[in-house]
């Protein structure tokens, strides 16, 4: 929590100091300030409401970075300083965030803090040196490379900042979060950096006309990314429905697949899984019981953890065959198939699914002492059924109720109760 306060406090300090300096000195190059301000505000207006998106407002980010790195306008050197950059970006971002604050859909404070700190970093690296004429004698290509270097450094800082904020907000381990942020830099992050550099250079060559023309490819990226996110969300909903087939068919109790998936994700995060691995884990956890659809006689209450090992393995193989038909990542089918193997031979995701499933089955109808006794059972687990590191991670996750309870769907009493929203990561 203190890290969160530190980040917010620093951002507020930087913003206040810049605002004061700009008010004292007045705005230089008003036309540029206005044009970039409008671009950033529009970019922020089209921000996603999805809190999990890594680059929620690519156009806003690219516009702010290019204003921070703007050295000239149609050949005439620009006069603005780092404080003015932060002020313009802050005001434009605030204006663009009004609808988001109004509807209360997206977390705005973290977003603004990130924007102010990253842009401030880039501007402080670049503007003072430029205004002193440090780069005047540089070759054009070298100058372009310099901009890229500053942008790369800025993105690294931005990734660390974003991971720190996410770590404070969710309590998930910092390392995997940072890795995920860095991986995101390769995709849309690189497009944002490239567009920021291109716009700064293009305005220097061709004037403000370049802005509308040059933000077009980034808009294209934004549209593609949104369509991709939409189809991913739809796909996930369909997988959830498929997973519910076992509940509708009466093979498993209502909400079991949901709970295993949510708890499994929390354990997976705790063990340092990221991105695609988490998706595989989530889909496999959702569909881990699907093999029971092919059984002649249903397992009593769907509790597979109490069955003999050979029977468990047979159901797992049946499930793997079903999952292969569904066209999901083959990795999901492998996890489902091997969820009943001895744990030294299993992939990590399969170990997690097995332990979490067993915990869910043992604890669900065992009264108030159920969870503790179930954990004890898993710890004592004979002949290496449950991987010790997974069980310890599960105990850690369960010990921080604020990190789990809000994300675990409440136990539902009937099929027709609405499922509360639960965690998504992609």
């Amino acid at each position: 929590m203190t890290v969160l306060r530190l980040i917010h406090g620093t951002a507020a300090l930087v913003a206040a100091a810049s605002l004061a300096l700009t008010l004292w000195n007045g705005l230089a190059d008003r036309g540029d300030a206005l044009a970039f301000g409008v671009l950033i505000a529009v970019g922020e207006l089209t921000r996603w409401s999805d809190a999990q998106a890594r680059q929620a407002a690519p156009l806003g980010a690219a516009g702010s970075l290019s204003y921070a790195l703007l050295g000239a306008d149609a050949g005439r050197p620009s006069q603005h300083d780092a404080a003015q950059v932060v002020t313009v970006v802050l005001v434009a971002a605030l204006l663009g965030a009004v609808p988001h604050i109004w509807s209360g859909t997206a977390p705005t404070v973290d977003h603004l803090a990130r924007r102010v700190l990253t842009v401030g970093f880039a501007a402080v690296c670049f503007q003072p040196l430029y205004n002193r004429g440090f780069f005047a004698s540089w070759d054009g290509s070298a100058y372009a490379l310099l901009l890229l270097t500053v942008l790369a450094l800025t993105s690294l800082c931005g990734a660390v900042l974003a991971a720190a904020l996410a770590h404070c907000r969710t309590g998930w381990p910092f390392g995997p979060l940072l890795r995920e942020e860095l991986r995101g830099l390769l995709g849309i992050g690189s497009a944002v950096c490239a567009t920021g550099a291109v716009m700064a250079l293009a305005v220097a060559v061709a004037g403000l006309w370049a802005l509308p023309v040059f933000c077009l490819p980034l808009l294209l990226v934004q549209v593609s990314v949104r369509r991709y996110a939409a189809i991913r969300a739809t796909y996930r909903q369909t997988i959830v429905s498929l997973a519910r087939a076992t509940e509708i068919a009466g093979c498993t109790p209502a909400g079991h697949a949901h709970r295993v998936a949510a708890l499994g994700l929390a354990v997976g995060r705790d063990l340092g899984l990221t991105g695609p691995e988490l998706t595989v884990l989530e889909y496999a956890a959702l569909m881990h019981d699907i093999g029971q659809l092919s059984l002649v006689d249903p397992v009593p209450a769907g509790a597979t953890a109490a069955l003999p090992a050979a029977e468990q393995r047979r159901i797992a193989l049946l499930g793997g065959a079903v999952v292969r038909q569904t066209g999901v990542d083959p990795g999901v089918a492998v996890v489902v198939e091997r969820q009943a193997d001895p744990c030294p031979e299993q992939p990590l995701a399969a170990r997690i699914v097995r332990a979490v499933n067993a915990y869910e089955e043992k604890s669900r109808d065992a009264g108030p002492e159920g969870p503790l006794r179930a954990l004890e059972d898993l710890r004592l687990g004979t002949s290496g059924d449950y991987a010790p590191e997974v069980v310890e991670s599960l105990a850690r996750v369960l010990a921080q109720p604020w990190a789990v309870r809000e994300r675990l769907p409440a136990r539902r009493t009937g099929l027709s109760d609405p499922a509360p929203g639960w965690v998504t990561h992609g």
Binding site: S141, A144, L216, R227, A249, C251, L293, G327
Partner: protein, 434 residues
Amino acid sequence: MDVVPARAHGYAAAVALLAALTLVPLPATPTPWSALALLTVLHTACEHVVRRRSCGTFYPVLLAGAFLLPPSAAALVPVPAALFSPVEHRPALPRRLWRAAQPALAVWGAARVHEALGGKDAVTGSDFPHVLLPVGAAALACCLVLTALDGGLRAATGLVPLRRAWRGLLARSLAPVAVHGLAGLMMAVLWRSPYGPPSALLVLLPMCVSGWVFAQYHRERAAHQATIRALVQAVDIKDGYTRGHSERVGQASVLIARELGMDDERVEVLRFAGILHDVGKLGVPTRLLRKDGPLTPEERRIIELHPEYGHEMVRGISFLGEARAAILHHHERLDGSGYPYGLAGSQIPECARIVAVADAFDAMTSTRSYSRARPVAAAVAELERCAGAHFDPRMVTALVRAVRRSGWHPAVTADEPAYGTPSSEPASGTGARR
């Protein structure tokens, strides 16, 4: 499509010859050879990265070439990438020639138009907004050439009748080429600027990322469709006699929706409504679904739960929209005697009324455990008899009209062996249920 008619061979050869003719003045023109080489390498690399994942040529580098180089030199840029690209289908040589010649001619046309309108000086002086006019004209010229050549190929292969060969091609290619044209303009302006070619390279990064994300989108969409198919197959396995029923009901629903003049999006939703209308049968014991002979009232009551089971399963899938209501209400009847809620008349959602007619029609025209398939004419007569009491007469009329006009030839793709096969036991008999 391994057989290519001789006409198409001739057509490809003619286009290749034309493209070769555009290269003839090359030795006589002053050409910036290093820029040409750099652009060619860039284009080959981009094609290698982007094309492998998604179809379609990557135009920004080509159009940047058209804005920077003389026409005959610009036409050379796409050639190596096409000649060395892997070809999936035989015969390889005509395909490679075509892939090289078509963009070469298009780029040549764009470069000619751009040059004629004085675009080269505008790019060098980065004279905004005047530079946009020649660029727009060049992109349009590129589109026109591409469309003309594409339509010609479609006509030559005989896949499409001559009249319809060119229809819709221009509208489809205009928007992507326009965006790629602007990216090409950015490349050209930065290339000529003091910041030089390295800064021009940066323009390509967003375009490549966008192409990459787009390819991922397509992959995910294909996986999603496979999952929907798996849901349908799961029903088909349980209910052996209705193999293919779901898909045929989907097709009949589409027929009705098109006949009623619904927009494409709604037609698509109705297709899903038809495909998934019986998905709730997953929750009904197989023993009941496959039972020969009359059902007891108790058994009938259990089977009649399937619309509610189905709705329960799919209600979390938001893209299905009103298809979810269709799944819940497809057994309601117009006079209120249906289930689950006994809705009547206009209380029943429109899509549910469509699926009800399609469902009944396919049930009658296909073989079931309790009856043999009837001819289409008999089914139509039966539908018309029940219109007003069970079915919405509007939907019945629409189906009858559509079937009379184009006939009823359902094509079913879901007849592949379904899952559950690795087990030695039948994938049925899920036993007692709630």
